[in-house]
């Protein structure tokens, strides 16, 4: 019920944002002849569509938001990354309770990983801001390469529904990284445990650095590490990954926040637009063809990645 009230509130804000009352508040035409509210309004609707697409494609909003907004909107990459982290954080915080209550996100599995990833995301955020200070093109090019890599990963990775883990390793056993969940459809109880836990933990160092450096939610990397490396069932991996973002992104978000990289005028329409889009996406999911949308998103990511490289290198092929 609370969710429905908020949905309505967010919708009301959307209408307020689009209303002529706020258009009247424009104090003059700036920014290439456009009034101040032009970009926040466009951003709101852009993020609304992005939120729908992200849900249908099964990716986090941040991974689409950062390359597309930095490529096609007039904001500096510093502010896009700051807003991108807040977008990913708000989405993860809102999704977390449901996932924890249904025992799909495992708190026990999340806590040690979150410690590694969040500490490393601070390092990543500081590194990203340092590189951007040296030359924003460095970050743009690295972001472009990463985004294209993510697109290839999404295209090639064959996640396993229920990986077979014959023997749990000592670290996983010591930390109690096991559990069980009920398949909603069949009622079957699926037991799981981790293996290759240390390798998985080490990979989360890289994931954390990248999440902080580019302001991306790192679901695209969390899921394959949990599922393919550590042997966690896909459902638990997806849910734990989403919940994990609420912790990893918090530490990186603070770095950007403290640096002044969050401009409310653009960050808040992004967050609200994406959240509202996600609600709509969940409703559309029942009638949509997710497979087609997933391939479309992979195409968009390749394009956005190339756009970021194009911008960073100053080729201006796309314009």
């Amino acid at each position: 019920m609370v969710k429905k009230i908020f949905e309505k509130l967010l919708l009301a804000l959307g209408m307020v944002l689009a209303s002529p009352l706020f258009a009247l508040a424009a104090e003059g035409a700036v920014n290439g002849g456009k009034p101040w509210w032009f970009w926040p309004l466009i951003l709101f609707f852009f993020c609304l569509v992005l939120g729908v697409i992200a849900v249908l494609a099964g990716v986090g909003g941040g991974v689409l938001y950062v390359p597309l907004v930095s490529g096609f909107f007039p904001f500096h990459i510093d502010f896009v990354r700051g807003a991108g982290l807040m977008v990913a954080l708000a989405g993860a915080l809102a999704a977390g309770p449901g996932l924890l209550r249904r025992n799909l996100a495992s708190l026990r599995l999340t806590l040690p990983i979150a410690l590694i990833a969040s500490a490393c995301s601070i390092a990543g955020a500081l590194l990203g801001l340092y590189l951007s200070h040296l030359n924003p093109a460095y970050v743009q090019v690295a972001l472009g390469i990463t985004i294209m890599g993510i697109a290839i990963l999404l295209l090639c990775s064959k996640n396993t529904e229920k990986p077979v883990v014959t023997k749990q390793d000592a670290l996983g056993l010591a930390l109690g990284l096991q559990g069980a969940y009920k398949e909603e459809g069949t009622g079957e109880i699926v037991e799981w445990k981790t293996h290759r836990t240390l390798v998985g933990f080490l990979l989360f160092i890289i994931v954390g650095v990248m999440a902080g450096m580019f302001g991306l939610g790192a679901g695209w990397a969390n899921v394959p590490v949990l599922n393919l490396v550590m042997g966690v069932p896909l459902k638990i991996s997806v849910a734990t990954s989403k919940f994990l973002l609420s912790i990893t992104d918090t530490s990186a978000a603070w770095i950007y926040l403290n640096k002044g990289c969050v401009i409310p005028l653009m960050a808040i329409p992004s967050i609200i637009g994406l959240m509202l889009g996600s609600f709509l996406g969940v409703k559309i999911l029942a009638v949509a063809k997710p497979k087609f949308i997933r391939y479309m998103v992979i195409g968009v990511l390749i394009f956005a990645g190339f756009k970021a490289i194009d911008k960073g290198m100053g080729w201006n092929i796309i314009g």
Binding site: V2, F6, L13, V16, E27, V30, N31, W36, W37, P74, F75, H76, D78, M86, L89, A90, L93, A94, G96, P97, G98, L100, R101, R102, N103, L107, R108, L111, A114, S118, A119, I122, A125, L129, Y130, S132, A174, Q178, G179, A180, Y181, I189, S246, T250, S251, A252, W254, I255, Y256, L257, N258, G260, C261, V262, P264, L265, M266, I268, I271, I272
Partner: protein
Amino acid sequence: MDKRLEEMVKPMPQQITYANILFWGAWGGILLMTLTYIIYLAHILPPHVDVNLVVQNWHKGVAEYREITNSPQGWNWLFLLAKGDFINFLGIAFLALLTMICYIVLFFGYVKKKDKIYATIVIAEILVLALAASGLLGSGGH
């Protein structure tokens, strides 16, 4: 065997506590953010940085933007809460603090359970988040 599995399917009590705090906190934070943004857009409170100045400079790097708009770093936005633009940071900062609040509650749960490993992990995470939030790492340098 089946009873053991049935037990394993149930979330731990700490997990439910965490979920409950997160639920009310996340939606409360988003509601707060929505309300403060309406205050900002409706000019109910005067902004510290004129919106036109914001849009004229948001394509510049953060250091240059901060200098031109005289925007604060770290927690100094707290001194500007009477301004329409900086009041928005209440909701944003609340969302960013929420995980730390959940972790503090978790810490006491694990101490009560005498789970030393997880109590240590939780306290280490609180320290990491506190370091990030402190501004010691984020507000120095350029």
